[in-house]
């Protein structure tokens, strides 16, 4: 009994540890293990006190639900349970280990432990194995297969279950556990980081927050005016930090997205991420930033701010309550990092897919024509992007006091204005980036505007102080398969992605002057650049590790054998007393004592000298040879199990290990 209880608890703990992978930090592990322990303690204690099982279940469930209601207040106790799962599925991933997000996990663990602890006394050992599998599968679902990327957790769980077969002698549990193990393994195999893991989060509608946030673009001028103001501090690699990506252009201004969801929700960006991405993690302490956006270094993957909401399309992160001064958080983000050569031949998505990034309502002819002539010599989208960058930069000077605005009129003044008129040829990053974005959109390059900060070299203690003077804006162009690539029409410091290619393109385009002066008819149409298949590169990382295969095949074989043995046992069980005798013969074979075929059952039984064997033989003979045999399986089977247990006890341990899956009995006649 003690062994069984300990084993079943160990199986559940293994499952609970897996489940805890869905939450950040070690707290979830402790909480879940404690939930297993407390449930077991209550159930076993109730058993000692002879409390009826039904009352135990009722009390434990009531306490759990009321506790959940207390921890995560909802309209009613049941709502606390019903709401907890969608809440978890719309939380950041991994979910922060806050009480209200731990509720569904704890409830699941308590329920599984409750059933397991109640049935372990009744010797139904398949339940703990199934419970462990349930927890494991829940973990896999919660993390879209990332909880156990290499299958170690599954193997550990199987190992714990397997240990039970050896120490807890129970054939039914064994076969069933094998089946459950196989099922778990199959689920793992399908959920492992594959190309398209099943994502339960797509099943819940994420809560969407409509935030009335304005574009921070006009802020650039005010920041430029008070350049020394410390906006925030960054600890981490010196990379550009971004505040917000502006996708919508009205012809008069750039607008930020207003619909935000929690970070963990899954709404893929309209334009998929590139094949090569880098991940950076920074710790940010807010200073005099005074905007709702939280600076990040790319598309946020995880953050310590559970209240933060994210624009799923651009990755801009907002704290609806506005960060106070001194607010500190960590955020890890990914950013597209294509290599030089990737971009040269890269294409752009078709206009329908990137409509949002190509919209130019009421584009003036002058701007459209200027853009067309700019890219007349460019052969690929990347060359067009570089050509526009060169054209916008050439002959124009960054001026902090230049008039603000990014309307067509302001941009026309910026680009074509007569020298001397205010804002002609002069602008802040806002005008440079906006002009670039409008021209690029005019020639079919999906473009967005990013408001952010130039990288600042870290000072004392590896902390970089980002000041108002570091604020800037830059355009980003989307290349199919490679993601968003930033361009810098202000300074042209080509150290971003594709810098070498950019120089090569500039050199090539240098021969015909980049400044479009004469309308030039274009040459032969450019061949469409081949679009690289982004999934091809991603497939490499999705390939299952070889050791999974090595471990999986034996597990599969063992599981199939276990199932066949379980099936045989079921058939024998149905056959009643004769089946019981066949079961004894099976056990004899496994014990290496297969009797000669001419020996009748009572003789074999008498030779065994095991209590019960003679009884089984007599009952089996009766069932087989008597007229209108009476069903005697009920008496014969307990005896047969007794004989089997004794035979199994007598064999050396290494034979005991294979006892349940030894295939020889399958073709015993």
């Amino acid at each position: 009994m003690t062994v069984r209880v300990g084993w079943s608890a160990a199986v559940l703990v293994a499952g609970a540890v897996q489940l805890a992978a869905g939450w950040a930090g070690a707290l979830a592990v402790l909480v879940f293990v404690a939930a297993v322990a407390v449930t077991y303690a209550i159930v076993l204690g109730a058993g000692v006190l002879r409390v009826p099982a039904g009352i135990t279940v009722l009390v434990v469930l009531t306490v759990s639900v009321v506790g959940a209601h207390y921890v995560a207040p909802a309209a009613g106790p049941l709502d606390a349970v019903l709401d907890s799962v969608p809440r978890l599925l719309t939380a950041p991933r991994p979910a922060p280990a806050t009480p209200e997000l731990l509720v569904p996990g704890v409830l699941l663990v308590v329920a599984v432990a409750l059933v397991s602890a109640l049935t372990v006394a009744a010797r139904a050992l398949v339940v703990p194995a199934a419970g462990g599998a349930v927890l494991y599968v829940a973990a896999a679902l919660l993390t879209a297969g990332q909880a156990d990327p290499h299958g170690f957790g599954a193997l550990a769980l199987l190992a714990v279950i397997a240990v039970g077969w050896v120490v807890v002698d129970r054939p039914a549990a064994l076969s069933a556990a094998l089946v459950v193990g196989l099922a778990a393994f199959a689920v793992v195999a399908t959920l492992l980081p594959a190309r398209a893991p099943f994502e339960p989060r797509t099943l819940v509608t994420p809560p969407v927050t409509d935030l009335p946030v304005a574009s921070p673009l006009p802020q650039l001028a005010s920041w430029a005016a008070r350049g020394d103001t410390e906006l925030f501090r960054v600890r981490g690699p010196a990379t550009p930090t971004r505040l917000v990506a502006l996708a919508d252009y009205t012809g008069a201004t750039w607008r930020a997205s207003s619909l935000y969801s929690p970070l963990g929700t899954v709404a893929p960006p309209r334009l998929p991420d590139g094949a090569r991405r880098t991940e950076t993690q920074v710790e940010v302490t807010i200073g005099d930033l005074a905007v709702p956006w939280l600076p990040t270094t790319g598309r946020p993957a995880t953050t310590s701010v559970s209240a933060a909401v994210v624009d799923p399309d651009s990755g801009s992160m907002v704290l609806p309550s506005w960060p106070r001064k001194g607010f500190t958080y960590t955020v890890s983000s990914t950013v597209d990092a294509p290599e030089d050569a990737d971009l040269l031949a890269a294409g752009v998505p078709d206009a329908a897919a990137a409509r949002r990034y190509l919209a130019l309502p009421g584009l003036p002819y002058s701007l459209a024509e200027y853009a067309r002539r700019t890219v007349a010599d460019a052969r690929t989208p990347f060359e067009k992007a570089v050509a526009i960058e060169e054209v916008v930069r050439a002959g124009r000077t960054p001026e902090a006091d230049a008039p603000v605005g990014s309307s067509y009129a302001r941009l026309e003044t910026f680009l074509f204005g007569a020298p001397g008129s205010p804002g002609a040829g002069e602008g802040t990053a806002e005008q440079f980036a906006s002009a670039y974005a409008v021209l690029a959109r005019a020639v079919g390059l999906p473009t967005r505007l990013v408001v952010g900060f130039r990288p600042v070299p870290p000072g004392a203690g590896g902390v970089a102080v980002v000041r108002a003077s570091d604020a800037t804006a830059w355009p980003e162009v989307y290349f199919a398969g490679w993601g968003w690539v930033p361009f810098d029409p202000v300074s042209g410091t080509d150290d971003g992605p594709g810098s070498a290619s950019r120089r090569a393109v500039i050199n090539r385009l240098a021969t015909p002057t980049p400044t479009p002066s004469t309308p030039d008819t274009t040459g032969p149409p450019l061949p469409a650049p081949p679009t690289p298949e982004p999934a091809a590169a991603a497939a490499g990382s999705a390939a299952r590790p070889w050791y999974l295969l090595v471990a999986g095949v034996p597990v599969l074989v063992v599981a199939v054998l276990g199932m066949l043995r379980a099936g045989r046992r079921l058939r024998l069980r149905r056959a009643g007393a004769t089946g019981a005798w066949a079961y004894v013969l099976d056990s004899l074979l496994l014990a290496g004592r297969s009797p000669a075929r001419h020996r009748p059952a009572p003789e074999i039984a008498a030779d065994l000298a095991i209590p019960g064997a003679v009884g089984v033989a007599a009952l089996a003979d009766r069932a087989a040879f008597a007229p209108s045999p009476v069903p005697s399986g009920g008496t014969a089977w307990p005896l047969a199990r007794q004989v089997r247990a004794e035979l199994r006890r007598r064999v050396p341990w290494y034979r005991r290990v294979f006892w349940a899956v030894d295939p020889r009995v399958l073709w015993r006649r």
């Binding site: 066949a582 020996r599 069932a623 087989a624 008597a626």
Partner: protein, 326 residues
């Protein structure tokens, strides 16, 4: 598997038979000590309506056994000492003329008894042996065209001395086949022998054997047990045993169909004696040697090699897979 040969026998009847069988066995055992297995075989033949051939050296209790069975049965017991000059009519009986009535009447011979002890049957001439064997099979004695039935139950216990064969007429195989069971008694175990030797022992005192049943009861049970269930696999097993003996290279003659039928009858009684209303394979194995061995004829080579039919039969039993209940 549940095909019934006969209508089957109820379990309570089996229990009653087992009690009776045990009582008869106990009664016989007061006279013949420590030979319960032999007694059981003789009783099997009695209830199965067959006859017993006891092959043993003198002085092991053959005669005592036969008479004790008769005593326990409460029936009539006769003894015929076979000699070379014994005539058939000395066994079966004869017609005599009664001068007072002027009628020819049949005077029954010693076979008109429930238990007939045919002592040293191999000492009589073949003609006399045949006369007895004919009665054993036919259960009637026909004299002057009139059939006289022997009483029921009718058990012939013939004895044969395997040594001292001078001046004997060996029973031909065809006639050996008419005995349902052949067995030997053998010397008793030392403990039992001491018991027998002790002065005042009841061993050998046939007169003290209590009568525990009646010939009618034995006949009734014999008829009843003929309907005891024998499952199809068991019949198949018996058939395969017969085939195995017929195919055995060491045998000139295998088990006859009559022998296999006798096996079925014996198995029915034996199973009932064990308190079962069905036959199991171990019954067949237990009865194989006493029921079948004497019907087999060894080849000359096997005979010269010192093999016995019992050995050959045991080998055949080991070759044939037993029908398993599984």
């Amino acid at each position: 598997m549940t095909a019934v040969t006969g209508q089957g026998v109820g379990e309570h009847e089996i229990t009653a038979f087992q009690v009776l069988h045990t009582q008869v066995g106990d009664a016989v055992e007061t006279a013949v000590r420590g030979k319960r297995d032999v007694i059981d075989l003789v009783l099997v033949a009695l209830f199965a309506g067959g006859h017993v051939l006891l092959e043993d050296v003198p002085g092991t209790g053959k005669t005592t056994l036969a008479r004790a069975v008769a005593g326990a049965l409460g029936g009539l017991s006769r003894r015929v000492q076979f000699t070379p000059d014994l005539l058939p009519s000395d066994v079966t009986g004869t017609s005599v003329y009664d001068p007072r009535t002027g009628q020819v009447s049949f005077r029954p011979g010693p076979v008109f008894a429930n238990v007939v002890l045919a002592d040293e049957i191999n000492r009589a001439a073949a003609k006399t042996q045949s006369a007895l064997l004919e009665v054993m099979e036919e259960r009637t004695v026909t004299v002057d065209g009139v059939a006289n039935a022997v009483p029921e139950p009718f058990l012939v216990v013939a004895t044969q001395n395997p040594i001292d064969l001078d001046g004997t007429y060996r029973l031909p195989e065809a006639q050996l086949d008419r005995f349902m069971v052949r067995t030997s008694i053998g010397y008793p175990e030392p403990a039992h022998e001491l018991d027998v030797l002790r002065p005042g022992s009841t061993a050998g005192r046939v007169a003290q054997v209590p009568t525990v049943t009646s010939p009618q009861a034995v006949t009734g049970y014999g008829r009843l047990l003929a309907g005891l269930h024998v499952a199809e696999p068991i019949l198949g097993y018996i058939g395969e045993l017969g085939t195995a003996t017929r195919a055995d290279p060491a045998l000139r003659l295998g088990a006859s169909t009559r022998g296999l039928r006798a096996m079925v009858r014996c198995a029915q009684v034996y199973a009932a004696a064990q308190g079962r209303h069905f036959v199991v394979p171990s019954d067949i194995q237990r009865l194989a040697a006493p029921v079948l061995a004497h019907r087999l004829v060894l080849t000359r080579e096997a005979l010269l090699a010192g093999t016995t039919t019992a050995d050959v039969l045991a080998a055949a039993v080991e070759r044939v897979p037993v029908p398993r209940p599984s």
